[in-house]
Amino acid sequence: MGAMSFTSLKPPVSLPHYRWHTVLWASWRDLPALRRPAVWRVWQKQVYFSGIESLPVISLIAVGLGLIVVNQIHFAFGTAIESTLEMTARLLLSELAPLLTCIFMIARSSSAIASELAAMRVNHEFTVLEQMGIAPSAYLLMPRIWAFTFSGAALAVYLLLLTLLAGAIYAVGFEALNELGVLLSRIPLSLFAVFMGKILIFAYAVAVVSCHCGLSVHLDWTAIPVAASRAVLRCLATIFLFDGLWAMLSRLTEATI
């Protein structure tokens, strides 16, 4: 038996390295591939895993959050019911709903996406897709990124409405729906735009970072858990950085106006 060379254990062919801007570009370039039934199915499955399966836990969080915020503002500081609900809505729209939704999605789906992609890469399954004439970016990355973004926006809207409803029921009982109707008519549209802008940008950024962490692994089994934990940390850092930048830009814009 000849001497074993450790270099022979290394994979003979190196896979292309995915940089974050490659992932970002692929999510736009491959968008027309959503018309393909197979890709659309990946999108649907990701919406199911990231969005629909999250509903029970996000409902629990929303109810708890509604009770906590109203309790703190109304019962602790003694503000009027109308003001309490308006402050809650403004707080949720401007900060809490997008941020909490993203943190929840990072904990639940970001690590799952990263470890799944990392495992596929280690298994050389990207090569299998290429052999079938399927672009891995169009089949694996683009639908996941957009489904994650869509799920993030939908979950944030759900969290917002349920939190407000829970808070209103806690504060005023059965008059809650009337109060909410009045409240929503008082909130400026620009705040809704800020809310949607934030959640869409944050969720998209989290999806891109998660995919990138899953793809930028060494071809080694130990890289899979590393990719998952790295995805969580980098996604958290990304959304807090983005939120900080958003706050700075808002302040600068207001100062300029």
């Binding site: 022979s8 994979p11 003979p12 062919v13 393909r36 039934p37 197979a38 890709v39 199915r41 799944e116 495992a119 596929m120 298994n123 050389h124 399954e125 090569t127 299998v128 897709l129 290429e130 052999q131 079938m132 004439g133 399927i134 089949y139």
Partner: protein, 167 residues
Amino acid sequence: MSDAVFSSVMDRGAGRRVLLSLKGQSKTALIQELTDLCRQQQKTLWVLPERGGVLSHLKAWENIILPLHYHTSLTLEALNLRLSQLCPVWGWEAESLATWLGCLPVNLSHSQHHLCVLIRALLCPADVVVVEASFWSAFPAEVSERYQQQFLQHIQVQSSVWLEWVE
């Protein structure tokens, strides 16, 4: 394999069988090279490998229909119909297939795993087909020979080149 050699192989026409004797790392390198060349020339390549060849996060039936589902606009019902049409030709019982088609590859036996790859290759014709000689050893001896012969006939009709490793 250079681009020019690949092109000349591709130009030889339908039904031509090319035998290559390769081992170890040169085999992996050649597959990668062929994959790149096929991608550049927009050709589809089937590899029936000794191990691997499926996507671990998809169930067996999803792995089987994936290329057809991606490249065509066939509905899932139409794809299932195609799959069921293969059964009598190859001597498979639809009921016994159904018991493992819903499983993830990690839960499949060695022969089921290879059968999954084989059915996928049968469902969707490819421009280039690469078969590792050891691929057939996963099947029981009594059916392995039959599968090889049937596959050879199928491939000669549907594909332009058949590359097989003889180790």
